[in-house]
Symmetry: C2
Subunit: 379 residues, 2 copies
């Protein structure tokens, strides 16, 4: 490949996975080039820009990466905060390193969200086996023991069904600082994604209903059906407070539990988010384009939904292309990753004008890419 | 850049301009890599795939380019037919070299379209100054003298307002084989784009109304307003016949004159077409994705329009990004080319649910990217 893509990069992205790739594709349409900082050159980003390989503690390599960039951003909240702060000496970093700091520690995050007035499940810091016993006494079981850091897609957590199971969970996770969270029966999971521009303007995407299996997002429906206006308003209040408090620039996602009339805030992701992939085809402006617009100081695009959308993740194995592409208004995205159990390889977004049509098309997509989900629910 | 984009290419595209770039971006979302054959490595395609530089008479270089490709296609109808036939010995070439042969000679093209039952303006072959005089006698003036080959965007043609102007036009163009065409007062220009799959299935995009200035497409509106069903049916009949006759695979565009109740077919383009750029945001499946699907033998996607769209070309000078991005539901595409008078640098597609809203947004886009067009019509 000629080095055009190297010469013209203006946005540096920490991480080169599918989120970075989709940001770069949105940027490319506006003639904005991106480069990626990754530990592996085989990342999906390599198909759309230069991958600079290096570790997150290689200060020289990080500095060289950021040199000449208009802005540096990231696709992953577990970028070391020190690396982000170092980069901020060379180029603006958005969202701010402070957002990373909050989002990458479940305890700090929950304290932060509570301080802003959001309801959460009961939780307690667990720094030793005694803490764990006390916390279980206080909040009961079932409960979830989680590492405070580096958990994603259901990794780094164990369910404690009864007090007798605490020891096993501790044996598994006790090496790390932990948090115990009350396990609640959830009506459904909702998420809200918003984007804040450099000028403080905010755009909210519609709430999304998400279905997880084994801790991994499988299906998102947007706009989430049957959401009372008061719930939308509450979710917007929460995300607006987070955005303002962090003087945030870019796309932010907050995952919530719908408890039948009220919301428990679960966690935030200071980045574009899997529950927003539907926006590529289903919204006036995608989350990826709006993130790029925001961090470059450009006007935000409309976050309005166009009709109804449903996104189904492709996990572990690749589907037959023909089966997916034959579904009306289905949009296939493959990230170029090798199949491996539990790995996000792509997604399909399907659109429709009416809910029953969307349901039929969603089921057709699920049959094509994740038939085990239909079996699980007997459809 | 790592060489991932080189390793994984499956589609070879002759040409590396914006049409090739947009095909490659659509392909990339499906994890299909593209490479480009170009005379210059500075082509827009270089940002999304490998550019192989070479001339179209370098047989060895062409063969190496096609080796290992699933399919070879092109973004430009003036690819030498001999090069396409040579490539077809190494990999399937779609659309077929025969389509190129027809489309790159205005006389062959008009004969071909007439033979299929389409009405055209009066025309005559002009191989000498005597032919020109006879043709002007027969069809009168004004008339257009055009080179049979290599004309595009208004190049290679001259208007002959009166018989006395024939000599000047001949002096300008007489070195090439020519065609004289009757100049007709046209109500408006329409185009139809269709895609034909490897299995013979056909999808038609809605008719598009196009406005040209100085021979260059400036504004397209889709679906074209106020088109009688009989006109749509006629346009579809024409394009279906061309597709079937050429056993065509891929996207084809036909430009037509709306003569107030009937159509004169003007020319065909055996490729994705500028008047179809609106399909990226305005149709269920873009022309670029459908072309890639077709040539890879995959099922076609829906060609339905989603609401109303208008596309405005960015010609010669770049607009202020902020001005474009502030327009509701406006989608900016910049190709990464250096500004130069008359050069297509990008386009903006704007969508709306209703015609009056579309008009307002289109005018806002025109103010931002081509204010001279508003001045020209006094808006």
């Amino acid at each position: 490949m000629d080095n055009r893509a190297m010469r013209d990069a203006r946005v540096g992205i920490l991480g080169g996975g599918q989120l970075a790739q989709m940001m770069a594709m949105a940027a490319r349409a506006m003639d904005v080039g991106c480069r990626f900082y990754e530990t592996s050159s085989a990342a999906p980003g390599a198909t759309v820009g230069e991958v600079v390989t290096g570790s997150f503690d290689d200060r020289e390599s990080l500095r060289r990466f950021a040199a000449g960039m208009d802005v540096v951003t990231y696709e992953w909240e577990n970028v070391p905060v020190d690396a982000a702060r170092l980069l901020a000496e060379t180029a603006p970093v958005h969202p701010s390193p402070r957002a990373l700091e909050v989002a990458q520690d479940r305890l700090v995050e929950k304290d932060f969200l509570r301080d802003l007035g959001a309801a959460t499940v009961a939780y307690a810091a667990v720094d030793g086996e005694d803490d764990l016993a006390r916390a279980i006494d206080a909040m009961g079981t079932p409960a979830l023991l989680k590492t405070r850091r580096l958990g994603y897609d259901g990794k780094g957590q164990m369910l404690i069904p009864t007090p007798a199971d605490a020891g096993a969970a501790w044996a598994q996770l006790g090496d790390s600082p932990l948090i115990l969270e009350q396990y609640v029966a959830v009506d459904r999971e909702l998420s809200i994604i918003a984007v804040r521009g450099a000028d403080g303007s905010i755009g909210h995407y519609p709430l999304v209903e998400s279905r997880h299996e084994a801790g991994i997002l499988r299906v998102s429906t947007a706009p989430a059906p049957n959401v009372a206006p008061a719930i939308v308003a509450l979710a917007r209040t929460h995300i607006d407070r987070v955005l303002a408090t962090l003087d945030y620039v870019g796309v932010l996602a907050i995952e919530m539990f719908d408890m039948g009339g009220t919301l428990l805030v679960n966690e935030m992701a200071p980045r574009v988010h899997n529950s927003g992939h539907w926006t590529i085809e289903g919204a006036a402006t995608s989350q990826f384009e709006n993130h790029i617009r925001a961090i470059l100081g450009l006007p935000l695009g409309s976050t309005d939904a166009a009709g109804l959308s449903c996104m189904v993740n492709i996990i572990g194995t690749l589907p037959r292309l023909e089966a997916v592409l034959a579904i009306p208004d289905a949009h296939l995205h493959l990230y170029g990753k090798s199949p491996r159990p539990g790995r996000k390889l792509g997604h399909v977004t399907v659109r429709a004008a009416a809910a029953d049509e969307l349901d039929r098309r969603r089921d057709a997509v699920i049959r094509a890419v994740a038939p085990e989900l239909l079996a699980a629910t007997g459809r």
